[in-house]
């Protein structure tokens, strides 16, 4: 076959792939959210398995990062199993978000919440409650779970925005930001907008409401000077402790809340810890991270950052790759 013919065939194949991806995003993926739960989550797992087999780059990245951070604690065979579960969890989380449409009941009825009495007692004391979670399991929807059950919850969360993305992607991001990330239409506090985030967070707690925050992301470049080094996964992770200072200033109790997926992939448990009792903000953060570490070690596939090498480097869990030495 001539060079020109081969190029034409490759272009045609790329166009077909784009069309299939478009059809999947527009038609198949949203429809999965309307299917009965056992079927929807089975499809999500199959999609995850497909990605595990096809997306070699992501699979190898997860396996390498697990080895680099956890070392011999996870055998090579387990690393592959975790990578496969990671891919499945990604698509199961997408189904969770799709099932949050309207009242969200088609998802919330699949989730058991443990420790809610602790939050009830905190709100009865009138000082609000800070719920700390991690990029763990279905982390994007976990606060919406409480919002859908009628709890007044606001999250500190960067708005997802991709200015250069396609119209379809922009539309799905808008739906995500409005319906899922805002916890039933309550606006989030965007930590990157000006200097008001901590004050807005304190206001939520002073109104005796719930405030949700993710404690494990790497700091943005502008905030890196203010990170605190805390023990995490056998290393020193650089994370921000500012929200703990807000909790201390307002006198609100701090809880760790994590969403675990069950072995059947569709049922989940949202577990709220006893209140964290620590003196200064850095100690409170360390205690919260200890909860997260226990969860990550028990359910490694749940943790988002295994596939994100740059974030692991920014967190301080991985060293930047050494430059290749010439000669």
């Amino acid at each position: 076959m001539s060079m020109r013919g081969a190029r034409g065939l490759r272009a045609l194949a790329a166009r077909v792939r784009r069309l299939v991806a478009y059809a999947y995003q527009v038609g198949i993926a949203p429809a999965v959210g309307y299917l009965p739960a056992p079927l929807a989550y089975t499809i999500a797992c199959l999609r995850g398995d497909w990605r595990y087999h096809r997306d070699v780059t992501t699979r190898e990245r997860i396996v390498d990062n697990l080895g680099a951070v956890l070392g011999e604690q996870v055998s090579p065979g387990d690393r592959l199993r975790i990578a496969r579960e990671y891919c499945r969890l990604h698509y199961c989380a997408a189904v969770d978000e799709l099932r949050l449409r309207s009242s969200g009941r088609s998802w919330t009825r699949l989730v058991e919440v443990r420790g809610l009495d602790r939050v009830e007692r905190a709100l009865a004391a009138g000082r609000g409650a800070l719920l700390c979670t991690a990029h763990f399991g279905s982390y994007r929807a976990c606060f919406s779970l409480l919002g859908a059950r009628g709890w007044p919850i606001t999250a500190i969360k960067r708005e997802v925005d991709e200015p250069g993305a396609s119209w379809l992607r922009q539309r799905s991001l808008r739906v995500y930001n409005e319906r899922v990330a805002r916890h039933m239409h309550r606006p989030n506090i965007n930590p990157t907008e000006g200097r008001f985030a901590a004050t807005q967070a304190a206001r939520v707690l002073q109104r005796n409401e719930l405030l949700g925050v993710y404690i494990d992301p790497p700091a943005l470049p502008a905030d890196r000077e203010r990170t605190v080094a805390s023990d995490f996964l056998g290393r020193q992770a650089n994370v921000l402790s500012g929200i703990m200072a807000v909790a201390q200033r307002t006198g609100c109790p701090v809880f760790v809340a994590l969403l675990y997926r069950s072995a059947d992939w569709r049922h989940q448990v949202f577990e709220i810890s006893p209140p964290v009792s620590a003196g200064d903000p850095a100690a409170a953060l360390r205690q919260c991270l200890a909860y997260v570490e226990t969860a990550v070690r028990a359910h490694p596939a749940h943790w988002l950052y295994w596939a994100r090498t740059d974030d692991l480097i920014d967190l301080g869990l991985l060293s930047p790759e050494p430059a290749s030495v010439a000669g």
Binding site: A198, T199, Q200, G242, V246
Partner: protein, 86 residues
């Protein structure tokens, strides 16, 4: 009022001594003089010291861009009977 606010920011909130001394027109928002948590402490200080309540809608750049702006904001919100005292 101006001195009380400058003293509070200088003594309690500023972590980098190189930015001192502060002036009434020193920009607070553009520089790294105070971070988000320090800003919360400043708002709580203003509320306790001057007996005002800073509404969510008043948390704007315009009201807090400098000590001058903060003084103007506080003066417009101090209860009438307390104005002389402040």
């Amino acid at each position: 009022m101006e001195h009380a606010i400058i003293d509070y920011i200088s003594e309690e909130l500023v972590s980098d001594p190189e930015v001192l001394p502060l002036h009434a027109d020193t920009p607070l928002m553009d520089s790294n003089i105070i971070d988000s948590v320090a800003f919360l402490n400043l708002v709580m200080f203003l509320e306790e010291r001057f007996g005002i309540a800073v509404a969510d809608s008043d948390l704007t750049r315009q009201n807090f861009e400098s000590v001058n702006a903060i003084c103007a904001y506080v003066r417009s919100h101090v209860p009438a009977g307390d104005r002389k005292a402040s």
